[in-house]
């Protein structure tokens, strides 16, 4: 995480334009105003001093203050973290459930059905989330009126954003799961199980799904980690609070304290996800438990 923080600090150092100019925006700009703003934010200090004092404050749990939003970064993140985590969990759950259903329903079935479902899944992966979101809104919110367009007030407002973010997961995950299932169904143990008179559905639930889910779990972990990017588009489209919008404004205005905090948070998220994955591997694959 320290490495992530330092790397992004360096990246921002070489990014064009200095923070003072960006804070001024396209408004008035005189030497006095510049000096006042630089002093206010400690930007008149040498870079190394700024970096070290940032690290020192970070160790005390102080994430600093946002340049543009004029609030403590800790407060900002705390307010926006909940809705994003909620959205990411809902999207992951949606994606996994859809992927499972479709994979189990189509694995080893007729070419026609497989092809059709595979095509739909490919569309989910390749159509930009912005377009998916707009389409979902037009059908289910503006035309049918089933779900509200915006906010994080209740569960019904979560459905469309979760679908928007979850469909690409369902698409890629479903493909991997189905292929895994089909491969497992051709393994000798599957033949043995069938010979013992096990029905096809029991075979899937008890044996082949377990085999197929190993690569899928790895993929699901990676996809969940990358959801933060998709959240930017989804949150702004649906007018949802969350880290996505915060990230977007922070990046466009080079709001360094906010960006650093988000990078650190994202690094922590990856650590958390890989830990969860390791635990899941052990549950799914008994061979790892004895190791």
């Amino acid at each position: 995480m320290w490495a992530a923080a330092t790397a992004s600090w360096l990246a921002l150092l070489v990014a064009p334009g200095d923070v003072t100019s960006i804070l001024l925006g396209d408004g008035a700009d005189t030497p006095e105003i510049r000096a006042a703003i630089a002093r206010e934010w400690g930007l008149d200090q040498p870079q190394i001093v700024q970096y070290l004092s940032y690290l020192a404050r970070l160790l005390q749990g102080d994430l600093g203050r946002s340049y543009t939003l004029q609030q403590g970064v800790g407060d900002l993140l705390a307010g926006q973290l909940g809705p994003t985590v909620e959205l990411m969990l809902a999207a992951t759950a949606t994606g996994i459930v859809l992927a499972l259903l479709l994979a189990v329903a189509t694995a080893g079935r007729g070419r026609w059905l497989r092809g059709a479902v595979s095509g739909v899944q490919l569309a989910w992966v390749s159509v930009p989330p912005f377009l998916v979101g707009i389409l979902l809104l037009f059908v289910f919110s503006f035309t049918l009126g089933w779900f509200p367009v915006s906010g994080a007030r209740d569960t019904s407002a979560l459905v469309l954003p979760a679908l928007t973010l979850g469909l690409p997961i369902a698409g890629s995950l479903g493909q991997v799961l189905r292929e895994g299932l089909e491969r497992a169904q051709e393994q000798p143990f599957a033949v043995t199980a069938r010979a013992r008179g096990l029905t096809e559905s029991a075979l899937v639930v008890r044996h082949t799904l377990r085999h197929a889910s190993l690569p899928a779990v790895t993929l699901a972990g990676m996809l969940t980690g990358s959801l933060l990017g998709g959240a930017i588009i989804t949150e702004s489209l649906y007018g949802r609070p969350g880290l996505g919008q915060l990230t977007l404004t922070a990046v466009t205005s080079q709001d360094l304290p906010v960006m650093m905090a988000i990078v650190i948070l994202a690094a922590a998220l990856y650590v958390l996800i890989s830990t969860v994955l390791d635990l899941l591997y052990r549950i799914i694959d008994p061979r790892l438990r004895s190791a």
Binding site: Q70, I134, G145, P148, S150, Y238, R240
Partner: protein, 538 residues
């Protein structure tokens, strides 16, 4: 019968507390109405002293009141100040204040509060821009009595009243200036005297207000007296235009602002919806030529660029006829607008080519662009993506195609991040600068853009005579003299020197369900007004 039985107790109740809400009884407005309004832009701050977004102006005067307001003709009218007097030397302004005004936190609004607000701007690390620009002439503020306050200036300043009527002039409770947790961000703990009390700001989602039932001090421009009609008010932040319009047509919000040109015909055709549009005050959206480097150091090339663009045609294709063409950098709503500039230049391809030939850009390269001494006739505009709105990127692309075809000019449009854009300006690596400003007095904008030392002088032009006119125009308060000077300024920059290509006049739009009444535009800015006069039902 069921309905009657349900309504009857309410009627009795209303009659019983009729003294508490005389306004509703008189106008027949239903109490307890709420409204949801979808807006495009999230406010960066809710502290009026830190306000910097014209798109967020519609929020400010829900929560805050200013000393004075501006009416549609540009005159100042009373608000929290009942009257004011200006000394003959224009150096002291004395305001007589209302004595019946209280802040939302229960403290009284008085002369000491006005002083606390102005003194706040003098503090370090609060608002460096206002301190250095708008209030540079303020010497001191004195409390003469609880209802009387005097401002003393170092130099006469024709823009002082405009400042006091702007969002910056929103009066904040001195107690909350002391105690607010995030002073510069604002929030429910930074309170004003306005018709609505801020309840919550959920970033990325919404801003919620409830009515201030004690409100009895609207500006002289308001359509009614007493508390606001709406009991609760929610602004929902929906940055995507088609989502805003969809939310309106499906009844999820009652009002939207920011209607793109492509959606206007749809809304106008819907009998359930109403549509209104208003030009903004300030400067037009204008291309400023950088005269400090080739090729725009040559006046003929500047003129040629203007002649090479058919602005009407470009606007028609990009905005489907909903944009109004600009002829001056001063917007047509300004009292200082020079109407004689209309149709005085532009759109003459033959003239553009003749001017470029004359300026020596006679050769052509393989791609058909004009060259001179082996260098291509290239002009670049570098715009920061966060400030690009109104499809100005598409507009630039349309102009790009036009000038290439009509005159062989290589117009490069670069939409970049804020850092890259500021760097291009610092390194003088641009030929065109695009900008519009929404100042209610256009003089404030011109003072930033045109003088040699202007804070956003991107033409990099140095014209002492022009600077002198601008100084005089912002110190004299005689409107006739100001107009005379600003006409000279416009003649100089538009006609004589051709350092600008005014393109279109920014406007704001409101679309609403037809049951919503009292919607309008802030006369001093042309942006959507506050929700004070807004009501549901007639």
């Amino acid at each position: 019968m069921k309905i009657l039985r349900a309504v009857l107790p309410l009627v009795l109740l209303a009659a019983a507390c009729g003294t508490g809400a005389p306004q509703e009884a008189a106008t027949g407005t239903v109490t307890g109405t709420s409204l949801t309004w979808a807006i495009e832009t999230q406010p960066v701050t809710l502290n009026p002293h830190q306000w910097a977004q014209n798109k967020a102006r519609l929020l400010v005067f829900n929560q805050f009141d200013a000393l004075i307001a501006r009416d549609k003709t540009g005159n100042f009218v009373p608000w929290l100040a009942k009257s004011w007097q200006v000394s003959p030397d224009h150096l002291t302004y004395t305001f007589e204040l209302r004595d019946d005004v209280t802040f939302h936190d229960g403290t009284k609004f008085d002369a000491a509060a006005v002083k606390a607000n102005l003194d706040q701007f003098g503090k370090a690390d609060y608002n460096a821009v206002v301190k250095a620009i708008q209030l540079r002439n303020l010497e001191r503020t004195e409390v003469l009595s609880p209802t009387s306050v005097r401002l003393t200036l170092k130099n006469p300043d024709a823009l002082l009243l405009d400042f006091l009527a702007s969002p910056y002039g929103g009066q904040v409770s001195p107690k909350s200036l002391q105690n607010a947790k995030d002073l510069k961000a604002g929030g429910p703990d930074l309170v004003g005297t306005g018709p609505f009390v801020l309840e919550a700001f959920v970033p990325g989602q919404e801003i919620r207000y409830r009515r201030n039932d004690a409100y009895a001090w609207p500006p002289a421009t308001a359509a009614h007296q007493g508390p606001a009609h709406l009991s609760t008010l929610t602004y929902r932040i929906l940055p995507t235009a088609s989502v805003r319009v969809g939310a309106l047509t499906s009844g999820q919000v009652q009002v939207v602002e920011g209607v793109p040109a492509t959606e206007i015909p749809l809304i106008k055709a819907d009998p359930e919806l109403t549509f209104a549009s208003e030009l903004n005050t300030g400067t037009s959206f204008t291309y400023y030529f950088n005269v400090s480097r080739a090729p725009f150091d040559d006046k003929r090339v500047r003129q040629a660029f203007r002649e090479a663009v058919d602005v009407d045609k470009v606007l028609a294709s990009v905005y489907q006829g909903s944009a109004s063409r600009a002829w001056s950098l001063v917007g047509s709503r300004s009292p200082f607008y020079d109407a004689s500039l209309e149709k005085s230049y532009g759109g003459d391809t033959a003239k553009a080519n003749a001017l470029l030939d004359e300026a020596g850009w006679t050769a052509r390269d393989a791609e058909g662009f004009r060259t001179k001494d082996g260098r291509r006739l290239t002009v670049r505009t570098v715009a920061a993506a966060p400030f690009v709105r109104d499809r100005r990127d598409v507009l630039a692309q349309a102009i790009q195609a036009q000038v290439k075809q009509s005159a062989g000019i290589d117009f490069q449009v670069k939409i970049v991040d804020a850092g890259t854009a500021t760097k291009a300006v610092e390194d003088n690596e641009y030929e065109l600068f695009e900008n519009s400003r929404g100042d209610s007095d256009v003089g404030a904008a011109l003072n930033l853009i045109l003088p040699a030392k202007g804070a956003i002088n991107r033409t990099r032009r140095d014209d002492p005579e022009l600077d002198a006119w601008l100084v005089e125009a912002s110190t004299t308060s005689d409107p006739a003299r100001r107009k005379e000077l600003y006409l000279k300024v416009q003649q100089r920059v538009v006609t004589e020197e051709a350092i600008v290509l005014p393109v279109y006049q920014p406007a704001d739009q409101i679309a609403a369900h037809r049951s919503v009444g009292g919607l309008g535009f802030d006369p001093s800015s042309g942006t959507p007004g506050s929700a004070y006069d807004v009501r549901i039902g007639t």
